[in-house]
Symmetry: C2
Subunit: 196 residues, 2 copies
Amino acid sequence: MKRFVVVGHLAATSGTFSLNDLPGSAGRMDILCRCINSSLFLSHDLRRDVECYLILRGAPDPEKTVLFRGSAVRYLSPDERSSAALIKKALSIPCGDEFRESTPGVYVRRGGLSRILSEIPFAVLDEAGEDIRGVPVLPEAYLLSDHQNFTPEDQEMLEGRDRYSVGPLSLHADHTITVLLNEMDRRESGWMSSKR
Amino acid sequence: MKRFVVVGHLAATSGTFSLNDLPGSAGRMDILCRCINSSLFLSHDLRRDVECYLILRGAPDPEKTVLFRGSAVRYLSPDERSSAALIKKALSIPCGDEFRESTPGVYVRRGGLSRILSEIPFAVLDEAGEDIRGVPVLPEAYLLSDHQNFTPEDQEMLEGRDRYSVGPLSLHADHTITVLLNEMDRRESGWMSSKR
C-alpha cells in the first residue's frame, strides 16, 4: 500500500467552511484537495493501492486526520470542489479517537502528525533529500507539507527519517506526489528498463 | 519557451459559466484549470518560461484559444477557481482573430487547433509514444487532450508528429505536464547526472 500524509497547517478542522473559498477561510484546503487528486486519480480510473492522509491543523478544533482510501472511495471527482465536499462531510460528523467513515472510503479521527508517525514509518519528501531516481528500493509511505514548512516541533519529530527529493526545483505538494507516483509506476511495470 | 496546448472538447466558449460548476456546465473546465496550475506553478514561484494554450471547443461559440503566459500573468492563484475566473474574464471580452489581453498575461482569440498547429511545431503526448526519459533532446512544445481522445479529424491533422509518453499508465493531462516538466527541470539543471 502506498501512503501519503500531507500536513495542512491552516486547514479547517470544522465542516463549516465554504466550498467557494477553499484557499481563504478553509485554510488553503485547495492544496489538500489537489493532493487527493494527484494521489488517487488515473485517467478514467483510481489508484486503488493508495491512501492519502490529510492532517488538518487550522481553526477551530484540535488537529484532525482525514483519510481517503483509493480502494473504497466513492462520490469523488477530480475537481477540488468534489474532494473538498467530502472533507467537509467528514468534518461534520462526530469525531472520535478511531477512524470513522463519513462517506464510502473517507474517514476522520482526532489526532495529527505525532500519532500517525507512531503508526506508519513515513519517509519525508524534502528538497534537500536523496534523488528518488537513484534509490534502489523506494519506501511506500511519504510525508509532505503544504505551502508552509514543517514547524521546529515537527522537524524534531522527523529527525532521523529518510529524506527524498523528486527534482531540482521546489514543487507544490501535489506535483511532488505526481512525480513520485510516476517513478513508482515505472519501476512496478518494468517500463523504464524495457523502453530505454 | 516551453509550450503546452490542451484541447478542451466540451469547454465553454462564453464567459457565462458558473465558477461553482466547472466540471458540469463549464464543460470540464476544471481539467483545463489544473493544466494551467501544473504548467505555471512552482512552490512560491511561477514558471516564467512556460506558455499554456487552452483550446475551447464547447458551446455556444466556435473554437476559441485562451493563452496564459507565465512571464506576464498576474492575479493567478493555484486553485482551480482562480484560473477559471481569469478564463471567464477572457471569454467575456470581444474576441478577434489576434490575441487580445483580458487580464495581465491572459489572452484570447478566435480559432483552435488547426491554426495553432500551423504556427508552432507541437509534439503529441500519447501513451503509445516514446519514453521521454530516453529521448536525447526533448521538444519544447506539446499537445495534450482533456478527458476525451482526439477526434478522427484531429488525428488526421496530427499525423506524422512526434509522439512521447511519460509513463506506463494513462494519466490526467495536468499530471502528464507535471511529469514532463520534472524531466525538463532535471535536464536543464544537470541535477540528475550529478545526483545519481
